[in-house]
Symmetry: C2
Subunit: 176 residues, 2 copies
């Protein structure tokens, strides 16, 4: 496992007693650097613990990442692994629920999902989705409701929807 | 008011008894065509009633819009107005709550907001935000919680977060 850990050093704001959302985000082969940058920005905004970049997911610093991350690539803690499989196993061994975000009809509806924190949410390639061998490793499969004629969202938009729903659910637990 | 109405003809899936989310999205001077395209895709996915493109917000068909809309620009009903002000007045006169999505600390937290459907959510320019004269016209000012060091999300990501939170709230009402 080739990991290049990066530790963020900048602290954000306290929100309803929450300093950090006990959640990590894993991107496996996310193709677009604009999407990767947007994920950094959302990860900063929702104060997720860590962003895992796996496989071909682009690494900062990159101009195209910075264009959408707007500096969040310097404040969000991240780590890289070429192969997501052993990383997913390692994260689960640390007690995380691993949740694949997919469009499968067999997945649980995002709004019905009751996550067991800490959680690691997994997003895959823009066109091909999450690789079957990664999907098979996940504890939960979550889908965002699709009412329209298309059957998926932009992956960075989906990231925002899922990460903020996790923040809402965590806040509702009244944990801190 | 220069409006070019476009009526979508393609019907999507029924979700928990909901065919259409009683919500409209108004984009005023959204600069990036990728962001406009993402809004189309999200508007299709959540089955919003209409997307209003105001001012300089780009108009389909455009290659850069299609790149992120992926066909949703043909399924979502939209309308254009050069000046958002009289349009906002007209939408409110039809009984919509007009909600500005802003980063102001005086705004209501998205998760605490209790919208009165139908709702029209307003998003502004990527850097300058919503114009003060539009903001002043809005019934409600909603902010997405920001826990990080940056103080905003990508506007299309913010759109996904707000539109899906509206869908969750509407579903929770058990209206249909």
């Amino acid at each position: 496992m080739d990991r290049v850990p990066f530790q963020a050093t900048v602290a954000g704001a306290l929100y309803e007693g929450i300093r950090t959302l006990p959640a990590a985000v894993l991107l496996d082969n996310v193709r677009s650097m604009y999407n990767v940058g947007s994920f950094f920005r959302t990860a900063d905004a929702a104060s997720v613990e860590k962003l895992y970049r796996c496989g071909s997911t682009a690494r900062p610093p990159k101009k195209a990442i910075a264009k959408t991350a707007l500096g969040a690539e310097d404040t969000v803690s991240w780590e890289h692994a070429w192969d997501a499989l052993p990383l997913v196993e390692a994260i689960r061994a640390r007690g995380y629920e691993i949740a694949a975000v997919e469009t499968s009809v067999h997945a649980v509806d995002l709004f019905d999902w009751q996550p067991r924190f800490p959680v690691c949410v997994v997003f895959g390639h823009e066109v091909d989705g999450i690789r079957p061998e990664i999907s098979a490793l996940c504890d939960t499969h979550v889908r965002i409701p699709m009412l329209g004629t298309k059957h998926s969202l932009n992956v960075a938009t989906a990231g925002g929807v899922v990460i903020y729903e996790l923040l809402r659910k965590y806040r509702a637990l009244g944990v801190p």
